[in-house]
């Protein structure tokens, strides 16, 4: 599918790999198979529930019983169009389902229904950020196809078993242009794609459950030279493995060429345990799939109104949300990126930031909340301090009820006890002291007790920090540090 590298993705050769004979550029294109989020399969009413008993989600159509016919599931079509819109891609109002013919026990029909020459979605784009640089990656196409079942070889000494629960489940194959230049970019691309799919609700993006996996096409060339021969690494099922597959494959190819060899076009497997790729079949051994239009299905056609209806229902997507967070809340690009990476955290942020300073809310979430979540290995949904509680804490900081230091303490108590932050501050007497009389008394006492330090601070104003520290200590952390500082400056005449 990948003939020429797109020039639109202005690529600076900043990702070159060093070989024994000079520098090499890695060219990567990805074919991501994303399971369509849908209750029923692509051409049958059978359920798509994950983890069901083997062969319990199988209809007569999925088992390819004689005389059975496919009937398209409209929701899967809508999901593919939504995804196309999310990828800013061309939507094809007429597309065609083809049969890809081959024999395998987990392929009951003896063919997979896919889209070959006329996919439902055409060219689009995805923006990725790597090391602070934004790059546009071309999408070549997206098509709908059926998943196969699963062959199980480890259950019996003489027989293999077949589980058809996945047989007929709808997949979107999303094909990128060969615009990626490093393992990091490939990983960023898949991460971003997954974020978009999750925002759209068109794929759960759960790679452990196998509902997202990638075929990784890798070739190498001298910078600026013609494209090299590519190898396709099949079915890589985690973002980490995608990175490993790219690195291993690029290095393998460079070594072969530098040793005077040539790359054979082939399909390779990725060994998860070893982090290596190995040959599966060469181009000569490739199947002849005998594609032809599926005569059981009419061309898939819909009108502009159908597309417009879906467009209207589309949620705000990560790029738009990031831009809005920067404009509306004054966030840095980095903070906005972190927050929009998951729709859940972006929505959570907006609830935390409600009526608060956006920047303060973002800082609080990224440093306090995310820090604790990572440390405890939990998630935003199950964290014991709720969005409302975090919003309250930030509110108490900004209106001077508590200091930042106390806020951390309140957060910690809330996390371990589940108590309400406002109640904690009240009950535990953690309110910031704003009574100027009390603060003045404490400050006077410190000045009187430390005449030597008073002399020193007049020569070295940064010594003020020592006085502030002492005053805060005496107040049990409850004094307002700004007020203490201002008062000290006045009293000490600095």
């Amino acid at each position: 599918m990948q003939n020429k590298a797109s020039t639109s993705a202005a690529n600076k050769p900043n990702n070159l790999l060093k070989g024994a004979t000079g520098e090499w550029e890695v060219i990567i294109g990805l074919e991501v198979h994303a399971q369509v989020a849908s209750k029923a399969k692509l051409f049958s009413g059978a359920s798509t529930t994950f983890g069901a008993e083997p062969n319990s989600n199988v209809s007569l159509v999925d088992a390819a019983m004689p005389g059975m016919l496919p009937a398209i599931n409209g929701e899967c079509v809508a999901q593919a169009v939504r995804t196309g819109l999310g990828l800013k891609a061309q939507i094809n109002k007429r597309s065609i389902f083809d049969r890809k013919n081959y024999f395998y026990p987990d392929l009951p029909q003896g063919y997979q229904i896919s889209q070959y020459k006329n996919p439902i979605v055409g060219e689009g784009t995805i923006e990725i950020d790597v090391d602070g640089v934004t790059k546009v990656i071309g999408i070549e196409r997206l098509h709908l196809e059926q998943d196969a079942g699963k062959s199980i070889h480890d259950q019996h000494p003489d027989y293999s078993y077949v589980d058809l629960n996945r047989s007929g489940v709808a997949l979107m194959e999303i094909v990128s242009r060969p615009d990626l230049r490093s393992a990091k970019e490939a990983q960023a691309y898949v991460t971003k794609l997954r974020t978009i799919l999750r925002y759209l609700g068109t794929c759960d993006g759960d790679m452990e459950k196998g509902n997202m996996r990638a075929d990784v096409n890798v070739s190498v060339r001298r910078p600026g030279a013609e494209l090299g021969t590519r190898c396709e690494v099949k079915n890589v099922n985690s973002i980490r493995f995608i990175g490993q597959a790219v690195d291993y494959e690029a290095r393998r190819q460079i070594d072969i060429i530098e040793d005077g060899g040539t790359i054979r076009q082939e399909t390779r497997l990725f060994d998860n345990a070893k982090g290596e790729t190995r040959s599966m079949r060469s181009k000569e051994e490739a199947h002849d799939y005998r594609y032809f239009p599926d005569p059981d299905l009419l061309p898939l056609e819909f009108d502009q109104a159908f597309i417009d209806g879906l467009q209207k229902g589309l949620p705000e997507l990560p790029d738009e949300k990031k831009a809005r967070f920067m404009a509306q809340y004054g966030l840095s690009a980095y903070d906005a990126s972190v927050l929009v990476a998951e729709k859940e955290s972006a929505d959570y942020f907006e609830r935390v930031a409600k009526g608060r300073d956006g920047k303060a809310a973002a800082n609080w979430m990224i440093n306090e909340l995310f820090g604790r979540i990572n440390k405890e290995g939990t998630t935003i949904a199950t964290a014991p301090v709720s969005d409302v509680a975090n919003n309250a804490i930030i509110g108490m900081i900004s209106d001077g009820t508590i200091s930042g230091a106390i806020a951390k303490k309140v957060f910690d108590i809330a996390w371990t006890t589940g108590r309400d932050p406002i109640e904690i501050v009240d009950t535990d007497g953690l309110k910031q002291v704003t009574d100027m009389g009390a603060i003045e008394k404490a400050v006077d006492a410190i000045i009187t007790a430390n005449p030597d330090k008073v002399e020193q601070v007049k020569l070295k104003p940064s010594m003020l920090g020592w006085f502030v520290g002492q005053a805060m200590k005496q107040s049990g952390g409850k004094a307002n540090p700004q007020q203490v500082s201002d008062l000290l400056k006045a009293k000490l005449g600095i």
Partner: protein
């Protein structure tokens, strides 16, 4: 009460059943006895005696209560490629030996829901691949007319040869059949009965074992045009389970037959088919057709189908390409025949399919696989598709100036078994008058037009525009009436 008559048509039978002169049990019992007597014909591959008697009893109860449905109590057979719950269904292939579906094809369910009594399933060429029933794992059916004339080696035609033989021998009142390239019309012609293939899409294909999906269409073999129309009216209808099925337009077919309004029909005959009329028997058919059309007050118009001459090769490329894929599911993994001697998975596929499929089926799978192969696709499949479009356009153009078209159904009267074994291509040529209709998805009826000097039947085909099934039924009905 007199012995039930199995020789009447459906209309007369329904009248007798409704009036109580006859019960469905009597009729069904007698019919089953006659089916047993005519085992020599090998028309049936399954006889569903118990189920039929149960259905007949239920029908009698409804008839007595005055609640008879459209086909209440009428014994009908189905083709062996139509799945029916609890009935072994094999499409006459060893590869499906012992396969008993848990579901019933839409068209079969529809006639059952209308009260039809299913007496059994009828013989056919394996998966519909043939024009003689010689390619059946059950052995060929015989032509009842041939048997009556002392010529038991004559073919009933195919692929629905068993159904046509059963109707011709009065072993059922109608037979549900399928037609991919003539499998309803040619056997109807060979057995001297009526075969009606409706427009592509009118009958659901759901539950019918596929041969070539874009060409397969269910229809009816019956004793009269009215009988086929009566059964088809029940079978026709859009089915959400078949994406290629269509909503019918216009009146029912029976209503079209009963339409009293006189019409001066413009009846076309394609020049290209007339050029093929070279033998005395075909000339007689042509003359007879012209006479009948004139007698019914119709106007004869010559039309042209310039691409008809490419129809046969295009048909075989498309049909076999689709078949090569449709038959891939018979792999011995989930149902049907699995070789007992296989050593590994590839061996299991190869042996199961080699043992399960008959010779003609294997040949067609190989040809279809070849036609779809890389490097040949454009040359064969794609070109055939283009011809199909051009031919459909030819028909569309022709139907601008005529209501229907007529031509002979078959090039010859029934041929003898093995008569094409020396050169298989001559067997394919038997389909020259039937396949163009399937390529264009048109409705067509074959009616008996005359008997050869030896007493063998010849059929005439009436073809109409897509979804113009009413006109086809009406004209065929009028020609049939002229024959008397």
């Amino acid at each position: 009460m007199s012995a039930a008559s199995t020789k009447t048509d459906i209309a007369a039978t329904q009248a007798a059943l409704k009036s109580g002169k006859q019960t469905s049990i009597e009729l069904t019992t007698q019919l089953l006895a006659e089916i047993d007597k005519r085992r020599d014909l090998n028309a049936f591959v399954q006889i569903t005696r118990e189920q039929a008697l149960k259905q007949a009893a239920a029908s009698d109860a409804l008839l007595r209560a005055g609640k008879g449905r459209a086909l209440e109590g009428v014994p009908i057979s189905i083709k062996a490629n139509m799945c029916a719950k609890g009935i072994e269904t094999t499409a006459a292939s060893r590869v499906l030996e012992g396969f008993v579906p848990t579901y019933t094809a839409t068209v079969v369910q529809k006639i059952m829901d209308a009260g039809a009594v299913i007496v059994g399933s009828t013989n056919m060429d394996e998966f519909g691949m043939g024009s003689s029933t010689e390619n059946s794992c059950y052995g060929p059916s015989k032509n009842p007319i041939g048997v009556a004339l002392g010529k038991p080696d004559l073919s009933p035609g195919g692929s629905s040869g068993g159904g046509a033989a059963a109707v011709a021998a009065n072993l059922c009142f109608a037979s549900l059949a399928t037609d991919t390239g003539g499998s309803i019309r040619q056997p109807a012609s060979f057995c001297g009965v009526v075969g009606f293939k409706p427009s592509y899409g009118l009958c659901s294909r759901w539950g019918i074992m596929a041969y070539a999906s874009s060409l397969d269409q269910a229809g009816v073999i019956g004793k009269t045009v009215r009988d086929t129309a009566t059964v088809l009216d029940v079978m026709i209808g859009e089915d959400v389970k078949d994406s290629t099925s269509l909503k019918p337009v216009g009146t029912s077919l029976v209503a079209a037959l009963d339409d009293q309004a006189k019409k001066k029909w413009r009846v076309g005959f394609p020049r290209e088919f007339r050029d093929l009329v070279q033998t005395p028997i075909l000339k007689s058919v042509w003359e007879a057709a012209e006479q009948r059309v004139k007698a019914m007050g119709g106007e004869l118009v010559e039309v042209s189908l310039p691409h008809a001459k490419y129809a046969l090769p295009a048909y075989y490329i498309l049909a076999l390409s689709e078949a090569s894929s449709n038959l891939a599911r018979y792999d011995g993994v989930r149902y049907g025949h699995r070789s007992a001697t296989a050593s590994d998975i590839t061996d299991m596929y190869e042996k199961s399919r080699a043992e399960g499929f008959g010779r003609e089926t294997k040949k067609r799978i190989l040809l279809g696989t070849f036609a779809l192969s890389a490097g040949y696709y454009d040359q064969y499949y794609e070109k055939a598709r283009r011809i199909r479009t051009l031919l459909a356009n030819d028909f569309r153009a022709a139907f601008k100036s005529v209501d229907v078209l007529v031509w002979p159904t078959t090039p010859t009267p029934p041929f003898a078994f093995n008569s094409h074994s020396a050169d298989p291509l001559t067997m394919y040529l038997e389909d020259v008058f039937t396949v163009p209709v399937n390529l264009a998805g048109l409705p067509a009826v074959s009616i008996p037009i005359l008997s050869s000097p030896e007493g063998l039947p010849m059929g005439l085909t009436v073809t109409g525009p897509h979804l113009g099934d009413q006109a086809v039924a009406r004209v065929a009905h009028e020609i049939e009436r002229e024959i008397g």
